[in-house]
């Protein structure tokens, strides 16, 4: 056991693979979450604005297509299409490909979560905002969003945890993230057990920390209002 631990982590500085994998997993997850939030906000606003005013018909149609396509196809296919088709002839950092693929994927889910959050707010709030002479974007920023965010935080937290784990799919196109790191080491030691257990524990720790952070934010928002 000790020997196998030594083989997995210490010999040949193999722990560096895990560190490299952890770093890449975190980088991809972090920036993909941010990209996902930005896309999600834009898409949900387009769709909500269309629902409320019947304007932006074409953009709304495109937004709907985007959500349906992303939700209707496996993330691994999306990743491969972006890497092997869209960026086939472009020399691009594979980490960036990962961020783009997972961010675009997450954006579809985040947009649906935010849309549900906006719809959960009583329409009297929008009307009160209008009656005070505020325009749609100010009402969203100062009245609807701050209330919606509280309702959707658990769902958003869930989405971020899913995203963090989903980055493991990146191994498929050769991104050296955590799962790939364990694979590399296992192929050298011919022992799958320990490398897999090590990354499993790392994923578990990461998601526990993440859900604690989400809980903390929930409580903070709860104190401010409710």
């Amino acid at each position: 056991m000790l020997d196998s631990l030594y083989q997995t982590l210490i010999y040949d500085n193999r722990y560096l693979y895990f560190l490299e994998g952890l770093k890449n997993t975190l980088i991809i997850a972090f920036f993909a979450v941010i990209l996902g939030i930005i896309i999600g906000i834009i898409i949900s606003l387009i769709r909500n604005y269309h629902d409320k005013t019947n304007k932006l018909k074409i953009l709304n149609f495109l937004a709907k297509c985007y959500v349906n396509i992303i939700r209707g196809t496996p993330v691994i296919l999306q990743l491969m299409i972006i890497y092997y088709v869209i960026f086939a002839s472009v020399d691009i950092n594979i980490i960036i490909v990962g961020i783009l693929a997972f961010g675009i994927n997450s954006g579809a889910y985040v947009s649906e979560i935010i849309r549900a959050g906006i719809n959960s707010i009583d329409k009297g709030q929008l009307e009160a905002g209008y009656s005070l002479g505020l325009n749609y974007s100010k009402i969203m920023r100062f009245i609807i969003f701050p209330q919606a965010i509280k309702n959707i935080l658990p769902a958003l937290g869930n989405e971020f945890i899913t995203l963090l784990k989903e980055t493991s799919v990146g191994a498929y196109i050769g991104i050296v993230e955590l799962t790939k790191a364990s694979d590399i080491i296992a192929s050298r030691t011919y022992d799958y057990f320990l490398p897999l257990i090590v990354v499993a524990i790392i994923y578990l720790l990461l998601t526990i920390v993440l859900s604690k952070l989400v809980n903390l934010m929930e409580r903070k928002l709860d104190n401010v209002s409710s």
Binding site: D122, G124, Q125, E127, A128, Y130, S131, L132, G133, L134, N135, K138, F142, I143, P146, Q147, K150, V224, S225, S226
Partner: protein
């Protein structure tokens, strides 16, 4: 100041307002009465374009409101509205509810807005609630804060959509008293209400609506003591006053 011309509103196949014509002059205190579902609230909502009219025109100081060229947000600043369900912003303290619009619209600086808000709160005796959240207030207090929130923009016209229907009798009084005080300042007001005693004391004009139409219009005396139409007579009998 406000002219409503041949206004109609349909939701799908249901017609809620039929050919409404109405003129409101400066300093008018108009009460709109009628049974529930007769289109009173929809009329108010069509006036400030929260609901888009299906037909007809709404002119505010000569400006057509349901015209694409008109910046309706600018006009709404001059027409305050108070809702049955108060619609305070639950995530903001009383003071932030009140100063949100004038500050975000760039009409007042934050410290000016706070000063003005404090004066208004003081007038209605709610100074000590300044840092409370709406849910910590009673219904009557919430509605009075909502009225102040609208007054912060110095509206030329205030519209009240059944402002006391969600309140118990004691709270009704404090809200109605505040509205009477506002009427005395010469503010132009349109009030949709079921409080007949208040209508008698407060309004200089009463409009009776039924099935999306204006049936009768006149002074409180005309309407309550000398009803002409069958519909109004029936309505007044049913509410027994």
């Amino acid at each position: 100041m406000l002219v409503v011309k041949n206004l109609s509103k349909r939701f799908g196949k249901t017609t809620v307002l039929k050919n409404i014509n109405l003129v409101v002059n400066k300093k008018d205190r108009v009460a709109i009465i009628g049974s529930s579902g007769c289109g009173k609230s929809t009329l108010l909502r069509c006036i400030n374009q929260i609901e888009t009219p299906s037909d007809g025109k709404v002119l505010f100081e000569g400006i057509p409101l349901n015209d694409k060229e008109t910046d309706i947000n600018k006009i709404r600043i001059k027409m305050g509205m108070v809702f049955q369900q108060f619609n305070l912003f639950p995530h903001l303290k009383v003071i932030d509810n009140i100063i949100l619009a004038p500050v975000k619209l760039g009409i007042l600086k934050k410290d000016e807005a706070i000063k003005k808000a404090k004066e208004l709160l003081n007038k209605i005796g709610l100074s000590e609630k300044i840092n409370n959240y709406p849910k910590e207030l009673s219904g009557g207090q919430m509605q009075r804060v909502a009225i102040i929130r609208a007054l912060m923009l110095d509206p030329e016209l205030m519209m009240f959509d059944e402002p006391t229907s969600a309140l118990d009798p004691k709270m009704k009084l404090e809200v109605l008293d505040l509205m009477k005080d506002l009427g005395k300042t010469g503010l132009t007001m349109i009030v949709v209400t079921h409080e007949m005693q208040f209508v008698k004391d407060f309004a200089n004009r009463v409009i009776f609506m039924e099935n999306g139409e204006i049936i009768e219009e006149g002074s409180p005396k005309d309407i309550f003591n000398n009803p002409k139409s069958k519909e109004l007579k029936e309505f007044l009998e049913n509410i027994c006053i």
